[in-house]
């Protein structure tokens, strides 16, 4: 009995000492080099989101404008495999009818059924791809809300592709490098055969204080980027003023790409 109490006191004492020492070690650690951090110019948000104003896109006389896609695919060294089967795409067009098949009607205004819609990863608030990944190779970045890919860790099981209800993920069925037909971006890597890839909301550009490549490339201001949790952000302002829709909200994934139609 006695010895038990003694050992209890001892252990308690050590614990208290440890707690007391914590701020000291922290202060010491703050000075110690090397250390890592964000760039000071990095753009920050709790949850990045995009509003795609398709009206602005459709109004253009130049209906073949693909500036955003080209900018994205060139920037990220996305290959052009050339077959539907193995296509790799981060940002692309689908028809209104196919994208919003749950709300398509035959008698829509101005025949928008066949109009293009820009589609990309929705960087869901509750992403099923992240839920199913067996290695955490795809994960939800807590700092920015971006659904990221760790190409070093992906085992290529393609569970995330089955889990994604938006078809936003592409698999590298073959070595992609010979198929990069745009000019190589020396500042960004390519991918290897056997991993899954998708839109990254240009994490690496945000870190340098730049907006995503597609947003920057759009000449017509159809793409707006910002923090959905910030009431003063440009995306929230747009959403407050316009009626918008999201892809398949009934699935509970919480997509963060909004469409103004």
């Amino acid at each position: 009995m006695e010895s038990n109490r003694r050992s209890f006191l001892k252990i308690g004492g050590i614990c208290a000492l440890g707690l007391g020492a914590l701020p000291v070690t922290k202060a010491l650690a703050r000075k110690a080099l090397p250390q890592v951090s964000d760039f000071p110019e990095a753009l920050k948000a709790n949850q990045w989101a995009m509003v795609v104003d398709m009206k602005k896109c459709w109004e253009q006389a130049d209906r073949d404008c693909k500036d955003c896609i080209l900018a994205c695919h060139q920037y990220h060294n996305v290959p052009d495999i050339g077959t539907i089967k193995e296509e790799i795409k981060w940002l692309w067009q689908e028809s209104y009818h196919d994208t919003f098949h749950d709300q398509a009607t035959k008698f829509n205004i101005a025949n928008i059924e066949h109009n293009p819609i820009m589609v990309l990863c929705n960087h869901c608030t509750s992403p099923p791809c992240v839920r199913v990944c067996p290695t955490k190779a795809t994960f939800k970045d807590k700092k920015s809300g971006i659904v990221k890919m760790d190409y070093h860790r992906c085992i290529g099981c393609r569970f995330c592709m089955a889990g994604c209800p938006y078809g936003a993920r592409s698999f590298n069925f073959r070595d992609p490098i010979p198929y990069i037909k745009t000019e190589l971006n020396m500042a960004y890597p390519a991918r290897e055969r056997g991993v899954v890839e998708k839109c990254s909301f240009c994490t690496e550009r945000l870190a340098r204080g730049l907006f995503p490549a597609c947003v920057e490339a759009c000449r017509h201001g159809a793409l707006t980027f910002g923090d959905i949790t910030d009431a003063d952000s440009p995306v929230r302002k747009l959403l407050a003023e316009n009626y918008s829709i999201k892809r398949r909200p009934e699935l509970g994934t919480g997509p963060n790409v909004y469409y103004i139609i």
């Binding site: 090397p34 890592v36 951090s37 920015s144 990221k148 070093h152 020396m186 890597p189 390519a190 991918r191």
Partner: protein, 137 residues
């Protein structure tokens, strides 16, 4: 003492010994000279003090660990800025930072990697995705 099946065992043993020692006598007399990674790039020439992220000896032995830690910080934790032991700041990026100075991959990286007999075409598999700088040769 008598060895049974000596006719088979002794040639078998001989073949075994020859095969095991194959690397030794095959490479005999052709010892590769120790590599001398070149630091002769414009970016390094311009530097007043030629100093890498870590002291030279540490870089030589630990650069792969450093790269792996950088990878984890950038990809998983979203940190991209590295303040080194000497207070200098670095962008944690193989393609954009390391290769900015060491733009001569074939004379710097490859010399040692080939000498050490790294697999996959004598290159660590960083280069299957990361793009090496174009070298004017």
């Amino acid at each position: 003492m008598k060895i049974y099946n000596a006719k088979l065992i002794i040639p078998g043993l001989l073949i075994f010994v020859v095969m095991v020692t194959f690397p030794i006598w095959y490479n005999k007399g052709s010892a590769a000279p120790p590599p001398e990674p070149s630091l002769n790039t414009p970016a390094i020439q311009r530097m007043a003090e030629k100093q890498c992220v870590l002291p030279k000896d540490q870089m030589r032995t630990d650069h792969m660990q450093l790269l792996n830690e950088w990878r984890t910080e950038v990809v998983r934790n979203g940190n991209r800025l590295y303040v080194a032991w000497d207070g200098k700041e670095y962008n944690m990026s193989l393609q954009n930072e390391c290769m900015r100075c060491h733009s001569n991959k074939s004379e710097f990286c490859d010399t040692c990697h080939v000498y050490a007999g790294l697999k996959s075409g004598s290159q660590p598999y960083c280069w299957t995705c990361h793009i090496a700088p174009k070298e004017n040769k």
